[in-house]
Symmetry: C2
Subunit: 346 residues, 2 copies
Amino acid sequence: MKAVFMYAPGDVRVEDAPDPVLQDPTDAIVRVVRSCICGSDLHPYHSMRPSAEGQTMGHEFVGVVEDTGSEVSVIRKGDFVIAPFAWSDGTCEFCREGLQTSCLHGGFWNNGRGVLGGQAEAVRVPLADGTLVAVPGITEDSPLLPSLLTLSDVYGTGWHAARSAGVREGDSVAVIGDGAVGLMAVLAAKQMGAERIVLMGRHKSRTDLGREYGATDVVAERGEEGIAKVRDLAGGLGVRRVLEAVGHMPAYEQALGVVRDGGTIARVGVPQYGDGQIGWPFFGRNLTLTGGPAPARAYIEPLLPGVLDGSVDPGKVFDRAIGIEETPEGYAAMDDREALKVMIRF
Amino acid sequence: MKAVFMYAPGDVRVEDAPDPVLQDPTDAIVRVVRSCICGSDLHPYHSMRPSAEGQTMGHEFVGVVEDTGSEVSVIRKGDFVIAPFAWSDGTCEFCREGLQTSCLHGGFWNNGRGVLGGQAEAVRVPLADGTLVAVPGITEDSPLLPSLLTLSDVYGTGWHAARSAGVREGDSVAVIGDGAVGLMAVLAAKQMGAERIVLMGRHKSRTDLGREYGATDVVAERGEEGIAKVRDLAGGLGVRRVLEAVGHMPAYEQALGVVRDGGTIARVGVPQYGDGQIGWPFFGRNLTLTGGPAPARAYIEPLLPGVLDGSVDPGKVFDRAIGIEETPEGYAAMDDREALKVMIRF
């Protein structure tokens, strides 16, 4: 099969790889129908340590189950399935609470233990019954495929930001970052009833989509100027909830600047730093810092009905579709910000 | 009148000072009946920059109203009152939400604007109607004075830790620090229904009192050993809520070590650091960091009935009572850990 490998910053290749096979009785083999490139894939694209073997890539995909191990009983051959970006057993203490990213027996794609990535024609899925969600009635030519694919990661991640931040009816919210996750955070905040949603971003095509998803205001400025604008929009004292969808230190500083005393910063952008300001300026204002990698698995079922009945259309974040052979160009387009989010069709 | 001044680390003096007078029409003058020394007063006792004028000290007191300004209408001469450790107008957006420490017109004792401290025979209280809580029927010889005094700070602060952490029925909780605030955090967690309350502290007389307040376990070990013990007690995965009542970096590291994935660390010890670990090890586990200076004012009314009817006895944290002339010895006793918390009688 064809699969995507990254060897060094900027060095993405599509290569032949062995077809995945069942290894554990809880595995399933999924033939990928749609996959995509994530904003977080750009981190290694910028800074990975060069590797002679290359690393597999991708953690978002939907597809059709081709084979299942002897202990797989919920998922069946032929099912159309959504795979969240972490695999999990569905039965441990954390999974039962809906924190599947901390599953005691799970893990993340491309993260060792022979579990490879989703930018490939097929994937071995460990703990298939816990990990995958079957969606009856979906065919490979369904117009819903892009929106279903967002349930692998970005829609669930945006939802996690808003949910972790505790967004409620009437709230004021700032979303930092106009990437796909930021836009999904806007959508989630809107669904949770936020009254004012300020999107901080500077790419007009993206912020226009953000307005479609529910942003009431867009602030393109950064730094002190951006902070002052957001605070003004929120009546001078700042916003109650900040959804930080970037992961770089300036975004955290921006969050500290725009949040109201007593408010919450929920991060879903993977932090590219270790330490950050949590001393008196944070403490004295009774701020809360929360968030983390979304337990996307927990959100697939609750978010699925809105996708299926068309009341939301998160799939609009995909503004380019390519074949797997064009994946290197897809990375470059996302890195150059020519594309918001690139879908890979098989 | 007599008042306490600090001039340099370890240099505490009791001196004559002018009697406070009404300055603003919203002021009251309170004759202090009981005051005390706070664990946080030990921070300047260790590290203050020497000052020729000295600084006033103290932010916890109960007393009797001697005089009121022309715009004070709720509080009256002769009222027995509790003063929280921050003064606040009671009417601004933050006060109405119960975050009086962020009051738009308030402040902290000993923090400029001519507002002095509570380790004195009398205090000018700004914004008296917003700040003070009158307690009818209390006389100056009431056996409840120590418990009423804890509502100025430590009981409210312990309560804030448990409330910010979201302690619920059946929770597992670790309390870091066996000072008065840590013990009050134990009491609060118990009142909120925590099932397991592990107190981390190494002073037996204090941890014994902690057991009285509801600690189910005491862990004297620190570092990796202490972390392993707490995690074991909590079934191996860590506790859901950590109440951090110290403020030094090792206490934060301890908190990160004992908390369960998806859990919450609530800090009420004033952080003696600026930056701390909030990168992947924090983010990846979906931890929440919250807390801050307690809006003690918000908690006085709800906590008062339990104090008045004797169902709780937070005043036991005072294990020494002195006159104001002995205050320097009181500081030394707390610094040497000979005394848990020192009350000053007038």
